[in-house]
Symmetry: C2
């Protein structure tokens, strides 16, 4: 299974609507007769790749798969059927398929007389497709809320000037995180004020070939000259102020699993209040402003005991890459776990 997980996480596998999956076929003597991994939507599933590599040796073999073989016909046929037809004797799975459309593969295999097992290294398998798993289990995308703040909690100065709160290094780092998501989300207010392009660019400021979906939510119309409406990537305008409604639409209608949310303080507060911020990435610039726009807006909290509590899971010191830049910090946090 560890080998199957490594295969699944092979570098260069693009993120898309599909999960990362790895498969290893073992002969009864324990030798590897076939391996495969899924390379993204439209290409063969891991099991099919492994079966093809194994050929006739698949008969009587044990298939080790990181994810329950699919049971439905999508762009490729059901893997459960392919395993049955190849004469596999046993299937060991890490994670059961949380996607209601594709699940049920293990039952189909068992009905065909194949021995099945699941749960081996399931935590590793879930972590491999963290956002995908979350989205299917919750019916909405995983939300990473990113904000930049000074040490004293400001996102802009009193006159509204906010460019360069964080360093060049921090802004480049943001693009690396954006590239791991399939959706960029802001509110109409941010589009009106900051006019971001919401594309993912490399260290030389060139757009990456694959761009996340750009989503603007809010009831206001967007001015036609806004950069988010250019042809650098697809854009969707969701005419709602309800975070949950927006997220459910992104999951159901657009197959979105991981939203990178860079909304302003008001929309961020709405997401926090709705309980749909699953991860917080805070870039902290060692600046003091003393006044200006708060990085986080009104949350309806009046007493310290009601503060939203977060678990700090990662702290990264971002050393300056350019002259005149300050060291910045990237903090990654999650809502406090129930204890």
């Amino acid at each position: 299974m560890q080998r199957a997980l490594r295969l699944a996480g092979s570098p260069g596998v693009p993120l898309g609507p599909n999960p990362r999956v790895g498969c290893v076929l073992l002969a009864p003597d324990g030798s590897v007769v076939g391996e495969g991994f899924h390379r993204g939507a439209g290409s063969p599933h891991a099991e099919v790749e492994a079966l093809e590599a194994a050929g006739d040796s698949a008969r009587g073999a044990t298939a080790i798969v990181t994810l329950e073989p699919c049971n439905h016909t999508g762009r490729t046929g059901p893997c459960s059927q392919a395993l049955i037809e190849a004469g596999v004797a046993k299937v060991v799975v890490a994670q059961r398929d949380p996607n209601p459309v594709a699940g049920g593969g293990l039952e189909t295999l068992a009905d065909a007389g194949i021995e099945v097992e699941h749960g081996l290294l399931v935590d590793d398998a879930r972590a491999l497709n963290r956002a995908w798993t979350f989205a299917h289990e919750n019916g909405r995308p995983f939300v990473t809320w990113k904000f930049a703040t000074t040490l004293d909690g400001r996102s802009a100065a009193a006159d509204g000037s906010s460019r360069w709160v964080t360093s060049v290094t921090a802004r480049r780092d943001t693009h690396v995180l954006r590239a791991l998501c399939d959706t960029m989300l802001v509110g109409t207010g941010t589009v009106e004020i900051d006019d971001p392009q919401l594309t993912v660019r490399d260290a030389d400021d060139r757009p990456l070939p694959q761009q996340p979906l750009r989503v603007v939510m809010g009831e206001r119309d967007l001015a036609a000259d806004r950069r988010v409406l250019d042809d650098a990537a697809e854009t969707v305008h969701l005419r709602t102020r309800d975070p949950i409604e927006a997220l459910k639409t992104l999951y159901a209608d657009h197959e979105r699993h991981h939203v990178f949310f860079e909304g302003g303080p008001t929309l961020a507060a709405a997401f926090l209040e709705a309980g749909v911020v699953d991860e917080v990435v805070a870039y902290v610039a060692p600046l003091l402003l003393g006044a200006g726009r708060s990085a986080v807006g009104e949350l309806g909290i009046t007493s310290i005991g009601d503060a939203r509590r977060l678990d700090l899971v990662d702290t990264v010191v971002l050393l300056p890459e350019e002259d005149g830049e300050l060291i910045n910090l990237r903090l990654t946090l999650r809502p406090e776990e129930e204890r």
Copy 2:
């Protein structure tokens, strides 16, 4: 000199108005004939201790001293005179004495025909007595401003409740830093609102035997029931709102070299505006409040280009020691160096 620096930094040497000093006496063949270090106000100076250890072997020896030998009669006689009388041939010094009252020792030694040198490992020697050196060079104490903040820059909730912004671990850590200073400073406002005792306590919440001077600054009277007026330590009330005036008084009249400043946002802003914050220690609690008292008050900054820029010099992750506590961060910062 490295040996002399190590002696000077011997554990257990209490901080006080005096600097840490180490001295090694070398015979002409390079062998060590005497060593000494200063153990705090009232005890013999490092040179005197080394000369006593060496006895007659001091004649013709080279004295390696981390700080220029004093030239004045304080609680002990001048060390320059003691070195001359012992017949030392050469004196090598790291740091010249920045204290105008005690300086001039090298000139006295040279006038007596002794070979003198200075500047060897001077940066290490200055670092050993960082606050002391700073205070004598600037005529005021070094100021460490400590504040606690939520991730969104708040020090208290909207209803004023502020206890437990940071974790038990962070508050214990604060006491470790307090113990390294000789002065605790707050404003009359903090005394009125928070009524802190301003003592240094150990991990079991017991007061340490040696307490920094407690200083309250501001023009308002203090209510007699305030904890800062109890007999746990000495207290001084400076009736001024001018940070520079207060600091000069603490240096000139109270021999203070390192102020641990825990003022509220208004007084902190006054210190920042006066340019007398030499170090910032920020405890960051991973909480979001969305409203409430800002950790840092109005600084008269309106544009992002005028933000106060800090260099991050240290980041410490404070793991929880008690159930139900969150990981906190301690950030240490200095005003950005001219580049």
